[in-house]
Every structure is written in C-alpha cells, then in structure tokens.
Symmetry: D2
Subunit: 363 residues, 4 copies
C-alpha cells in the first residue's frame, strides 16, 4: 500500500520559462512591464527577462527576474565549455544576488531539492555534494576562516515519498532554526521541449514551490512568504512522451514544409533523402502554411499546439503509455550538470573562490 510513486515533476519554472521564452521571441518585447534581452556568449545563449507588477498582470507571470542559460556543453561532454558556462552562471548569480540586496557576508542556505535515489531527480542532492559549506566553521572556529568566504549552510530535504512530509514543511523547519539571510534552491525540472533537457539552466528570484502540482498544497517559499530573497536554479532533466511526440510532429511539419519548398518535383517529395545528416537545421521558417499543413498531417495539422498536446496526452494516457523519460546517459549528464552548477555557485557565493580554483574545494 505505501507507495513511492509520487511524481517528482515540478513543472512550474519550466513552463513559465518556456512560455515566457516563446512569447518573448514573438511579441512580448512590446508588452509593458516586460523587458527581455538575449545574447550569445562563449557558446551559451543567455536570455534575461524581467517582469514588473504591470507585466505580471499582462502576462500572468510572477514579477521578478528570469535568466536562462542554454548550453550544450553537458550533452556534448565538453569540459572546457562546461567551465565557460559555469563562469557565466557565477556572474549571473552574483548580479541576481546583488539585485536582491544580498550582502557579502549574508548567511546563505542552499536547498538541494529532489530524490537522491532517482538519478534524473537528484540534481539538488548531487549539487549539494559539491557545495562549499562553511557555516559551521564560522561558528566553531571563526578566527580561522580566511576573508573572502561567507557562511553557507546546505540541506537536502528529501521528497515526500521518502520523508512522509511536505518538502516545504521540512524546509520551513530548517529555516526556523537556521535563520538564513537568503536561500538558493536547486532542482530538477520537467521539460516542455525535448531539446531543453540537460541543456537549459534557469535562474530566477521568484522563489520555489516544492512539490507543486500535488494537490492544492502549494506552500510557496519566496520573498513574500519568508521575507528573505529566495533564488532558484532549475534544469529540465526529464520529458514526457506527449512532449516528445508534439515536438516531433512539429518537426515533421517543418521537414515536409522545407521539402515542399525545395522541390516542386512531386515524384520526389515524399522520399526520405537517405538520412541526410548534413541537412540544415529546421526552423520556424520551414513551417508550411495551414493548407499545406492539412495536406501533410490532415486534421491534426490544423490543430493549435495546445490542442495537439491534449489529444496526444489523452491517447497516450488512455493506453498507459505516457512515460516520463530521461536520456540514457542520465548518470553522466546529472553528474556533470551538478558539478557545473556547484562550481558556478561556489564562485558566486565566496569572493575567494573562482571557477579556476574551485575544484580544490569540491569534495
């Protein structure tokens, strides 16, 4: 009877970021109360969005700063690009801490959300293993702590299936006795896009909803509820079959759309071009007009994204096949991503630590 099957998917941030991102590309730049910039740096695509109270009303997203780093360094197992990404994370995190008026000697609590025993959900606990914890040193041998460090505590509150408690209750309890000046939570997320998995690092100062989605028991941890800044770092590590199929059908439309344009030679139109790996990446410009979409994919081709999702979800769910999946290289990916994030955080939290010397501090 007792079961461990509670889903660990916390979609909020991913959904927010994705919706935000999509809209931002299309029209949001003109919305009042929403400012966004995008740039590329050392192979990392960096998107900043800030939303104020006015924007919150307009786009239905919580006011605050949302920063997205898109890096292929983990998936490609490219160590030097991972270091480059960690440096950008450090800088962005430092800015966000400053924006939230966190001072250099403020006490931080790092919360590693997720389940250590379920690898794709273990980003939080795995990151904690490489976090430089210093608070006890300040308490026990204050005079020995060199300058350039701040007090940092860390807690891995587990998940409801293994603790029997609301995760937010555990965290509230720890805050009650530890009394940090600010919090940074790290968590694995569900992705609403195949390509974001293990590629996108999301950073925000709008707080967290641990275990959100389970009932209505949302016990937000945020500046509003706690009175201290609550930052969150999230990485999509899983995706469901609905998303994979929806994304692929979209790709399929673009694929045929491009073929349509490239060739008028109808006889060749539907012949796969012998696995042309060199093909230019499909993009929005390849999406055909509605009439062509209907020819290619019938009724399904005319549905909106949201309608498609709903039908696909119902078909999969009714057959018991809406699996949530993770790339087969999950062990290596989680390991590298946790290390990247911890290095980025250690350097951001302690003036004396840099990405270059960070490995010396990892356990």
């Amino acid at each position: 009877m007792p079961s461990n099957k509670q889903p660990f998917i916390r979609t909020d941030l991913a959904v927010e970021a994705r919706d935000m991102y999509v809209k931002e590309e299309e029209q949001e730049t003109s919305i009042k109360g929403v400012q966004s910039t995008e740039r590329e740096e050392s192979g990392v695509k960096l998107v900043h969005v800030s939303i104020d109270e006015q924007g919150e009303q307009a786009v239905g997203k919580k006011a605050g700063t949302y920063i997205t780093l898109h890096t292929e360094s983990v998936k490609k197992q490219d160590s030097s690009s991972q270091i480059a990404a960690a440096k950008i994370l450090t800088r962005e995190l430092q800015h966000l801490l400053k924006e939230n008026k966190v001072k250099e000697d403020d006490v931080g609590l790092i919360v590693g959300l997720g389940n250590y025993n379920v690898t794709p959900d273990a980003l939080g606990p795995m990151t904690l293993e490489n976090i430089l914890v210093t608070n006890h040193l300040f308490e026990l041998e204050h005079e020995k702590v060199s300058s350039g460090y701040r007090p940092v505590g860390a807690i891995s509150p587990g998940v409801m299936g293994t603790t029997g408690m609301e995760t937010s209750d555990v965290i509230h309890g720890v805050i009650h006795t530890f009394k940090p000046d600010f919090i940074i939570a790290v968590d694995a997320l569900a992705s609403r896009s195949i390509e974001r998995v293990n590629e996108t690092i999301q950073l925000t100062d709008t707080g967290i909803h641990p275990g959100s989605g389970v009932g209505n028991k949302r016990k937000e941890l945020s500046k509003e509820t706690l009175g201290i800044p609550v930052l969150a770092i999230g990485v999509p590590t899983v995706v469901d079959a609905v998303t994979i199929t929806t994304d692929t059908i979209d790709l399929l439309l673009k694929y045929f759309g491009r073929k349509w344009k490239e060739k008028d030679d109808a006889s060749n139109r539907l012949v796969p071009s012998s696995m042309s790996f060199g093909m230019k990446k499909l993009d929005e410009s390849d999406l055909p007009e509605e009439k062509e979409r209907e020819t290619i994919l019938g009724m399904v081709g005319t549905l909106t994204d949201e309608e498609k999702r709903l039908f696909i979800q119902e078909a999969l769910t009714s057959s018991g096949q809406n699996f949530i999946v993770t790339p087969k290289e999950v062990d290596q990916f989680m390991n590298d991503m946790a290390s990247l994030i911890a290095q980025g955080m250690n350097a951001a939290l302690h003036e004396a630590v840099s990405i270059e010397n960070a490995s010396t501090y990892s356990r």
Copy 2:
C-alpha cells in the same frame, strides 16, 4: 578526442522478437518451419516461437527457439508478481537448457554484457551481482560442495568505450581459458516499441552479437561459432524518440478511429474527453480505414509504418534530437529487473536453489 559515446544499443534481438511477434499474430502461424504458441500465466504473457531451417529461409530469422515473457511486474513495482515472473523464467530457461542438451553438471559461463556506469545499459553487470558463482568452489574445495549445484563462472566484459577492445574478443579470450560447456549472456536492448521497455524478457538459444551494429565487425557468439550452446536473455531498457513518436501517431489514429465510431456527432468529434483515464485501452480494432486515416493525419496517415519511421527519423536526426531515452525510474527498474533475472537463472542453473530460497544466495 578519445570518446565514450559509442552507442550501446544492440537491437538485433529486440527487432527479431518484435518482427516475429507482429507477424506471428497476423499470419505467421501458417508459415512452414515456424511454430508459435502464446498463453497467459500468472499475469505473464508467454510467447514461444520456434523456427527451423525451412522457416529461417521463409522469414529471414535464424533457426532456434525464441521465448518472450511479457510482465508488468517491474514497472508496477509489484514484488509478488516479480517472484511469479522469476519462476516462469526459471522453468523456461530449464526447458531451453534441456532442449540444448545441457546436462546437470555442465559448466556454465554467465556473461553480463553492457556498461556498469550507464544505468540503462547495466542490466548484464547488475544481474551478475546476484548470480550464484560456484566454479571456484568446485576447484578449490570440491568435497565441500553440496549436491544440487553445478559449476558456474561469470564475467562482465565491459564495453568497447571502456575497454578499448571488441567485447566479443574479451569473451573469446575468457572462453579460451575457462572452456565452459554452455554460455548464457544477459544484455540490455533497445526497444522498437514504447510499451516493451522494462516489460519484456527475451530468451533465445540463437546466440549473441555483442556490440553489433558497430561497423560490420559482427563477431557472433553462437553454437555455430563456438560449438557450445549460447543462450541469451535480453530486456529492452531504452527507446528512441523515433519509436516513441511512431507509436504515438499510431495510437492517435486509433484514438480518433474509436471516437469516429463512437460518435457521429461531428461537433464533438475533436473534443478531448476531459482526460478520460477510464477509457478502454486502444487496440488494433480501433485503427480506422485508410480514407479516414488520411482525413485525420493527411499524407502521413497513408504511410506504411516503415515509411513513417523513416520520415520521422530524418526529421529528428536532422535536428539533432533523436535522443535515446529511458524511464525516469531507471534506477529502481534496472535493480528489480536484474534481481528478477538473476533469481530466475540461479534457480534454473542449480537444482538445490529455488525462487523461494534464492534470496539467501544473493549477495
């Protein structure tokens, strides 16, 4: 430059079994040289196919016995059903050993294929951790070994990315010195169907092709090449995005096909029925006629399965998104499956061991 990215997917058995299975349901029962039976037992669906030389010509599959156990016990984390499935595996394995004239005191070599550090590929090494190894006891203290045991050795040859060698070369080397009377190889497979993942256990006496798919270097290990029986136990543990999408599009056709039949009320036709979890599982009878398929899915609805796969594969591959994935619960699933298989094997290999007392022997 050195890279660990060699794919670990060994599709042969999965493909064979799947093709076999599909055809068998449809028409194969009437093919000369191919015999198949199917039955349900303790919640396990059991399919036996035997192919002789004549059948090998007819269906293009190697002559031999193919046994498939389909059990949801691992996915549902149902311990007592796992025990039931292990018992059936024991019995089937015993039959297959007998069919291959393996005697009760013949020396067995268990080969755990795959990469210990990549969880979904670790079925072989993880199974080996629970295999009752006895050969050294016969060599070192023969007089102390109770009756009811046979000599069993076990080897985990690693994968090319971690050894730098062809896996078959490592195995050949070990056979060269160990000289077993028969071999049983255990391996994780890629699935050609979402629903088979972690649900299907395949058992055959047609040998293995470790690392097959990499170049033309197929170094088969089989009765033909080694002169001793080579059995293989395989479980699909991963699936690619192409398969997920192909399967889901098929489900989508059936889903709309059923809706079509159920309601003529056109206005309701395309409204998702509010996530009707109670919906009867979709099956072949729900697949609509070609004309309806075209209405629903346009050109794509008229493609054959193989054509659909090819187009989807090209669309995904050209976008760098044909990920190979595994369920997020991969740690628990692999653990339970490896335990189920090891228990089934231990009881089949040693007369004195049964599923009931098997846990006493596991490490």
Copy 3:
C-alpha cells in the same frame, strides 16, 4: 580552509553500554536502582538493563532502559540468522514503545543520523532507505490506508560537515513543523571493543546527543527536552587503533596465561602453537595473576585498563597514527545491518507488517 574532517564518532551510547555491560557482569546486579537480565535466544545474546533515579546516582548513567542485542549474523553474512535477529529487534522495540506509552496510531519520526557519503557512518541514512514511510499517505489519501499502519515520517539530517549546521538544530526544526508523537533515531557508533563492531545493536529510550563530542554543544534530544519519547538504535561500526591494541594486549595476557597453565614445560612456553585455529576461545579465566602479568608484559602488564588506554593513546596520537578503522567488508556489513534494522523497525511500527512480509515493503 573549509574542511570535511569533523569526526563522526558519537561514543556516548557505546561507552555507556560497555561500561554498563562490564560492570553488570561483575557486580552491578547488586546495585540498588539497577536491574539487569541476560539471556540467549536464537543465537542472539540479549542484555536488558534498567536504571531508575536511584541507580542513575549510583552508576552515573541516565535513568532508562538499555537493551543490547549481540548477533554475529551480519559478520557471518548469514541471512537466516539476520532474520532471527530482526524478529528479536521487533519484539524488543515493541516492548520499549509500549513501556514509553506510545500508542498504536501515534505518529513516529525516524531520524537517520550520519553521513551518507562515509560508508561506516551511513547506518542512519542507509536504514532510512528501507523504512516504510506512510505519513503522507495518511495526509493525502487517508481513506485508502489499510488498517494496521501508523503514520511514519523520516528524515536524514546530514552531518555538520555537509550541512554547516548543528544536527540537533536541523532535527529541532523538523520537529517544530512535523510535531511527531515519538522519535526513533538510528546511528553508527564508535566501539570501545573490537568484537562489538557490526555485532552489537543497542536500543535505549534515554534519547540522543547528535554530534556530541564536538565542543560543549550538547543539544540533547530526549523526553526531558522534547516532552515526547526519544528512542535510539545504535550499532558500533568503527573502532580506533587504541582500542584494537588495548584489546589485543588483553588477549595476549590471557593467551600466555592459558599457556602457562596448560604446560609447565618451560621450554615450550613461548612457542606459538603453529596457528592453532582450533584453540578454545580465550576468556576471563585465562587472565593470569598480577605477578605473572608483570613477567609477561612488564610494567605494562601491571597497568589498569584505563591507564593502558591512556599510554597507548598518547603513543599513537603523538605519532599521528590513531586511525579510526572499519572492517574491510564495510559495504556489505553496513548494507546488511541497515536492512536488518529497517526490517525490525517496520514490523515493530506497523501491526500489518511482519519480518516475513517485510521485503515486500522495502524499496
């Protein structure tokens, strides 16, 4: 500067139990306010000691019940003896809960003390992995919980080196929000005797002092401080070189003492009897008289146990060699012990669970 080297040794319980045990054998049975019994059962040596306020004054140990199970089942990797020991643990734990007026539907909090990443210190976290956690089921789907279960929550508070916080602070925080009716803490201990390592399970209702020994910051968790029963289960998993040497010098005295008695043939006296494995186990009766002890071991032979310990400690410490060690089979031992304890606890906590069906509930 930041360091992870904080010792994880919590000696209190081990010392108490050992002192208690030694004295009990010698004279304590006659002390007012101290009652002790000892018996053997299914290969487990079971010692009960209860101390009341009067006894607390007399022997300087906290009033309460102390139960010690001594079992070789883990070291011998004997599964069926482990099951027998788990059953005895269940019964003793049930008695102790009843003695402390814990009711059948009282809410329990299981605390897994120690460091998951240091295997010999991981008894608490490893035990938690097999604890049946049910509290969330009562909260989320109360109507579905069968009778025979109680609400149980579980927390692994980490260690100061990885959290930066006093462990007792973390626990206090969790208690603050979870509000359990009783607590059971599980912890690895340091042993003051080689032979206790991985053989002795200590059970008491006198509470815990997490992280005791570090400074004066003893933040006891007990009925006195929390107002609810606090039980503790501890197993010695490590021992230091001082203890090993002190114990061995003691053995050496007994060894020569016995030889002295057995043979008067002086010429043979000091010849090792060619590793006589069949030799009867040495016991207290073999300890020679003081004069003989001096002949054998000189000045050292005349020291009290406590003096010997002090000198040995100084010699080792001054050479930087007072290592704390654990048996090389630490991985297997910790695994089996954690499983034994979790099974014993699950069956004690939930009426519907027994050792026989317990494996069904383990994760």
Copy 4:
C-alpha cells in the same frame, strides 16, 4: 554454501617492498647486486631500489626495479599535493617504461585488479574508470586519432569470488586475444605497517601474482611468463589487527624509551603527559635497550618483531578477532588515490596528456 569470503589480500608487493625498505635503511646499501637511493621531492619521499641477479640471490627478492612514493596527500585530502604526487608518478612510470624498452606507440593493457563492490579492494576498477582508453579509436577511426596518443586497452578481471575463475586465467584469456605489447596492473594491497595505508604507492617491473596466497596456485604474470613487460602499481589500503598491535607495541616501547631518557624523575615516569600532541614524532632513536625493554614490556619486550607478530596473530586468531580493517574515510581515500594514479598513468602513457590537462580526459 557458495561463499564470497575469499580474502582479497595480496601481500606480495607490500611485503617485498617493506622488507626491502627496512633492510635498505639498515645495511642493504652495501649488498652486492642491490642499489638503492632515497630522496624527498615536493613532499613525496621517493625510494628507488634495483636488484640484479646477484642481488636476487643475496636478498631473496626478484630482480627488477622497485620504486616507492610515500605521500600523505590523500590522507590529508590536499588536492595540490595530490597533483604534485601524480606528476612524480608520471615521471617515474615513464622512466620505468623506457627502462623496459616500451616504445611510444606500443599497445598497453591496463589491468584493474580487485573487487568493485568491496571499496578498499576497488583500487584497480576505480582507477580504470579514469583511464584514458584509446585502442578502439585506433582500430575504428585511425585517421582521426591525433598524434601524441598510443593505443591503450583496459580490463577489470574481477575476483575469484565473483567470477568463479582464477583471475590470472581471465587475464591470460584477454591477453590471448588482445596481444598487448606491455601490461600495467593496478591493485590494492594489504599493508604490513599502519602508517603505509593510503600513503604509499609502489611501482615495480617485476610482474604480478593475482590472487596469490590462495593455495599454491600462483600464476605469475611477468616478463618471464609472458614475454612482455609487466609493470605493477600497488597501494596498501588495508591492515590487520596483528599489524596494528605489533606497530603500536613498538611505538609504546619507543614512547617509554623517550620518557626514560627525558626524565630521570621516576615518579613521573609513567604519567601520560596529558595527551601532548606537540610531542616530537617517535623514531628509531627512541627505542630503549633490551634491559629497559624487558622492564617495560616483560617477556614480550624481548621478542623479535617476527616472534611478536606470531604470538599476537595466534592470540587474535584463536579469538576470531584478527580483523582486516581500513580507515573509516575509505570512500574518499579510495576515490582520491584512484584519481591520482589514473592521472599519473594517463600522462605517462600519452605524450599529448599532462597532469594539467588530464581532467579533460577523465570520465
């Protein structure tokens, strides 16, 4: 009945090195056919001993080169000293390869001896996880391999308890098919001294005896038996209670010896100086004369080291307490040592790899 308890202790190298070392300090420098040098470098104590055929007769040790690195960097968890030690290992290994006429493009086989599931015995398999394996790249895509690399294969042959086979048989099998030009084996050893544990790295070109000590089945792998150079890297990771006690009794003698010298004030002689951590490390000069030794330790004080060992071993063994132990920090120590060795090896084997860039290549 089947058992996994085969001891994993392979003492040969440790014993050889230790005997060698002790003698070398005392008188060996003058022995014909034995040359030894000793120096300190970057905190690493480095001892070179070379023995020729003449020396082999004289000291009863196999002719060849023996190099010992003594570094406290792992025990002290000092990353930068670990890097310094890895660099020295690289240089020594390069010299030894050259001495053995291994050419720059010769094919190497790295053998990781030991049991992956027993942490203190897992040095070999753990080292392999960080070894840069390249052989398959030369075979599959030779043109893509940059210059500065050689073909390297790697195998972890397991232990007899998990494979049921002689480890040397498994290795012979792999050599039979892989045909390397030279071999480097990595293994955990038992120490004959407390202080060597996790501090000494032994490097030799005299081959290995995997599983030696089990019966007479010594199946040496060496230049003599295989015709190719066989190097071995060994690190003591465990120690038994006999050794701990013998070493400590020795320390105790020195300790009292020094006190004797320091003070003639008899009344203070046997008072522990309140745990004087600042005490100068005890050394050979503190060992008292025989008469004083007898006063301090009686008969035992007059025994030779070997006699002491024998008596202590008999006392412990007869009580079933001659445990083999490892420091409680075994997880961290093994991890760091395996990483140090792998880095040292990668840089020695491939011209293009250095300790500085090595982390890029680790998996």
